[in-house]
Symmetry: C2
Subunit: 227 residues, 2 copies
């Protein structure tokens, strides 16, 4: 039962690294386990690094960021989560990252204890949880590659392509996050992000309809950056 639903949800979604489509999965389980539907305003904290990992969450609408903070106040954003993505899932008992609402968002909470019961009861689900962890891992490794090796233009290009792939349109990207968020995701400063985007617009690679609406005019040029 829960399994077949899980498969259906899976097929209906494209894979974008951090998504856990399969979780859409056990509706029976959701009835049993789904906590309240929560709402967070933009920039509200959902949980902090170090908090007890009592629940994990599925994003219904809006955008969420997961991040770590450094002692000097700076921030490294680990990932942006889009609707359908699941986050806050931990191997241990505490959260290793903070999660914050980028925009207003709606979230369903799942109790952790229930999940463990599911894992114990159904090894196919267990394998899917494992597979989720491995997807996250792969995405994080790609992120490392970008952070370690890319120029500002390469980082911004990869970021825009990632957002385009995960969004609805292949050429129009609606950025829910601020320049500061982008900077903290890519290991750059806000000024460099801004300058690089302006530069790309001057070159005709992209168009900035508004600061948050980007049109990819020359997708090829962006892809060639990281070639």
């Amino acid at each position: 039962m829960s399994v077949s639903l899980a498969s259906a949800a899976l097929n209906g979604h494209k894979h974008h690294g951090i998504a856990m489509p399969w979780l859409g999965a056990e509706q029976t389980a959701e009835v049993a386990l789904g906590g309240p539907v929560l709402h967070f305003a933009a920039d509200r904290r959902i949980y902090a690094e170090g908090d007890d990992a009592r629940s994990y969450y599925k994003l219904v609408s809006g955008v969420v960021r997961t991040c770590k903070f450094l002692s000097d106040g700076r921030r490294q954003i680990d990932a942006f989560l889009l609707p359908g993505d699941v986050f806050g899932f931990e191997g241990g008992t505490i959260h290793r990252l903070s999660a914050e609402a980028v925009s207003d968002c709606t979230i369903i909470a799942y109790r952790r204890r229930g999940t463990e019961a599911i894992i114990a009861a159904d090894d196919r689900i267990a394998r899917q949880f494992f597979s989720y962890a491995m997807s996250c891992l792969e995405q994080t490794r790609d992120h490392c590659l970008l952070l370690g090796r890319g120029s500002a233009a390469q980082k911004i290009g990869a970021f825009l392509l990632e957002m385009a792939d995960r969004g609805d349109s292949a050429t129009k990207v609606e950025l829910a996050m601020s320049r500061q968020d982008i900077a903290d995701y890519l290991g750059l400063t806000i000024e460099t992000v801004s300058r690089t985007l302006s530069q790309m617009e001057r070159e005709g690679t992209i168009a900035l309809q508004t600061t948050r609406k980007v049109v990819l005019r020359n997708r090829r040029a962006l892809e060639d950056l990281n070639a």
Copy 2:
């Protein structure tokens, strides 16, 4: 046979992130699954990105690096593996990283198919595999933090502390890897690595007994870098 060796190697080591101590657990399973003991000379490839993930491996002796290659020939090293560590474990059917011997090393191969049978048969094992994946994830996220935010000195400092924590001595670090490997791990150039180490020696933070033998003279100074 290989089993007792495996367990011995396992028990003799502390946890350092990527280790999979729990594997020591099912000795019966190891008897059934342990493949041949393999030997690789320094700089030999163990598997390449894209290869079928038929097996995963446990490192018995020596040091291994896992990495990705970029089109321009550059390399990002994902992790260094020390004896006791397990690697080559994948969610999908192919390897997402290459693995290469840093020094001469001895490795035990485990068949993947058998592993899946174990997961199906024993949910405790399944949970441990999941937990392993989450450890890797955590380590990789920390690596991202370093790559995205650190100065050269911060990166080198963190690297030395990591190696010291994982090694036998708290103050003497034996580097199995070349400067190039370190550079590719930290997202720096070989020259910057060299210069930074020299600088640290001039300041009395470390001593370079030989190019590969580092003594941490002022651990505190290194820790304060990333404060």
